[in-house]
């Protein structure tokens, strides 16, 4: 068997590892193994490729092969390893977005290089299929590159989280799309002219920015997931361009999984993907929401003292904690875990109700709580926890708002009507920890707060929890 054949087999094994790895991510118990299997497949594919290049079994007409590869691997790998090791768990969505930008950028660069090489020989060197793949790769990869960077900037607060209205609105995007289409058609039908690819590249890079800027910060997770699917598709296209099946398989896998994930997230917010992309809705950034006064919707709000709340919690049998975006903002996950552990020591049964979009990214809350050492069997998903609320003595709502609003079930005129929510109002008592009466991301009143069973604890989640912990200890 020649080395080339052997490495092709290694690529097939790598692709199988990716699929098995994703499959193992079905359960928290096997997820880590799945990721390691996937990483092993990746290592195999990369080492195999290095071997092919070293043995000269692929075209090796380059002049600086090893310096390029070593410098690239050391610089890129080093930067990746450093940020992966040091990033705070709350900043995870930004980092995923940045890595995604890198992947999209790399995919676009591979296609650009192939095109430049072919155009150097003559205007009709590439077959139609390659040109189509190149065009798709460059467009998708470039949009992903700038789009992901803007998305990361919005999450980090470097770029404003509020939807940015472009001067001419969607007109700019329409113009960009038309220019891109003309350039693409020219490249495919008329001739492979370098300048046209340049136009396509620039337009796609700008489009990435103008596409993401008008979308609110709270929708960034969906955007990142969508861009992740884009990168997968771009990588698959790069596979077509350089005729490499492993890129096609891995890219298609990510494209499909990213697509499904995007759909799941949009469903959990009861919005269509189109509606999110068109944008202009929701700032998500608590600080950016204008303090809209005491929006109590007419009903009266009962305020609790910390001691009352501590007594309710300590003498309860079943407590359900409902953590939300505000908890992540206040970085109060460790305090939450400490309070829960304290209550459990006193014989209280504590469960966490996790809405699919709690946190800054679907599943983000689970990561934050796992970091605070909350055992994952205590984390309950929405469908499983909702029947439990009627048995709960106390529901403790920490910085969650719209996902607990009963109006989503009862009021057809509410903007969030139909959104799947946690049935917090079914609990015997409800304690809401909240900074102020400010409405949440959807900008509407929460009927839960005026429910007679509800007591409010105003303040920063972390401070309130710390006070609660000492109050419970003192009992």
């Amino acid at each position: 068997m020649s080395l080339d054949t052997f490495i092709r087999l290694v690529y097939i094994v790598a692709a199988a590892c990716f699929v098995m790895g994703l499959h193992l991510m079905n359960s928290p118990a096997t997820a880590r193994r799945g990721n390691q299997l996937s990483a092993a497949g990746m290592a195999g594919a990369v080492l195999g490729t290095l071997l092919l290049i070293a043995a000269g079994d692929v075209s090796t007409t380059g002049t600086l092969i090893w310096p390029i590869i070593v410098v690239g691997l050391v610089v890129g790998g080093g930067a990746g390893a450093y940020t992966a090791r040091t990033v705070k768990m709350t900043a995870m969505p930004q980092l995923v977005s940045i890595f995604n930008a890198m992947g999209g950028g790399a995919a676009a660069l591979v296609a650009i290089d192939e095109f430049v090489r072919a155009a150097g020989i003559g205007p009709h060197t590439l077959g139609t299929a390659e040109v189509v793949a190149t065009v798709l790769d460059v467009v998708i990869g470039s949009v992903t590159f700038t789009g992901s960077l803007i998305a990361a900037g919005k999450l980090q607060g470097i770029v404003t989280g509020t939807p940015v209205k472009l001067p001419a609105g969607q007109a700019i995007n329409v113009v960009l799309a038309v220019v891109a289409l003309v350039a693409a058609v020219y490249l495919i039908a008329v001739g492979q002219v370098l300048a046209m690819l340049g136009v396509l590249l620039v337009v796609a890079l700008i489009f990435g920015v103008t596409m993401v800027l008008p979308i609110g910060g709270a929708d960034m997770p969906v955007v990142i997931s969508l861009l992740n699917a884009f990168t997968g598709t771009a990588v698959a296209m790069a596979g077509f361009v350089i005729d490499d099946p492993v890129l096609i398989i891995a890219g298609a896998l990510v494209g499909a999984s990213g697509g499904i994930l995007t759909k799941l997230m949009a469903d959990a917010m009861n919005r269509s993907i189109m509606n999110i992309i068109v944008g202009g809705f929701g700032t998500g950034d608590a600080g950016a929401v204008a303090a809209a006064g005491a929006a109590t919707g007419g009903g009266s709000v009962r305020e609790l003292t910390v001691d009352d709340a501590a007594i309710q919690l300590t003498y309860a049998q079943h407590v359900i904690v409902v953590p939300g975006y505000g908890l992540a903002v206040a970085q109060a996950q460790h305090a939450t875990a400490e309070l829960a552990a304290l209550l459990e020591e006193r014989g209280v049964d504590v469960k966490y109700a996790i809405h699919p979009v709690a946190g800054r990214m679907p599943g983000h809350m689970n990561v934050l709580l796992a970091e605070a050492n909350v055992p994952y069997p205590q984390l309950w998903e929405m469908e499983d926890i909702n029947p439990e609320f009627q048995r709960a003595d106390v529901a403790l709502v920490l910085g969650a708002n719209d996902v607990t609003n009963p109006a989503a079930r009862s009021d057809p005129s509410s903007p969030i009507y139909g959104m799947p929510i946690l049935d917090v109002d079914k609990a015997a008592n409800i304690i809401v920890v909240k900074r102020s009466m400010r409405p949440g991301y959807a900008g509407i009143d929460n009927l839960l707060y005026t429910d007679p069973k509800t007591g409010m604890l105003f303040g920063d989640a972390k401070e309130v929890l710390t006070q609660l912990i000492s109050a419970v200890k003192a009992l």
Partner: protein
């Protein structure tokens, strides 16, 4: 690319998409963040493509493009897998020794 090649590549592409749909639709919401990050690392496979173009880079522009492509892809792969592993490491059934939440003196 010959027509035969194109058809076989397209076959692979379509089947891989279906596999992707199938595998992901079963993942619980609990794991969506690690999943996104894990899938994100998989498309770092473009590193293979980046190294292959580095092997034929014989002019300054190609050298520039390929070194950038290798660095981008390497950051995607290495960072992606490491950070996913870091997240998944924290998912435990019963934490042995809590470090974030110091055990309250009973």
């Amino acid at each position: 690319m010959s027509v035969d090649q194109l058809i076989s590549s397209l076959t692979i592409f379509v089947l891989a998409i279906l596999v992707g749909f199938e595998v992901i639709s079963k993942v619980p919401a609990t794991l969506h963040t690690p999943l996104m990050s894990g899938a994100n690392s998989i498309h770092g496979i473009v590193l293979v493509g980046a190294m292959l173009i580095a092997a034929i880079a014989d002019n300054p522009l190609s050298i520039f493009l390929s070194v950038l492509a290798v660095a981008f892809a390497a950051m995607n792969v290495v960072g992606g897998y490491l950070v996913t592993d870091r997240m998944l490491e924290m998912f435990k059934k019963r934490p042995a020794a809590p470090r974030g939440a110091p055990k309250p003196e009973a």
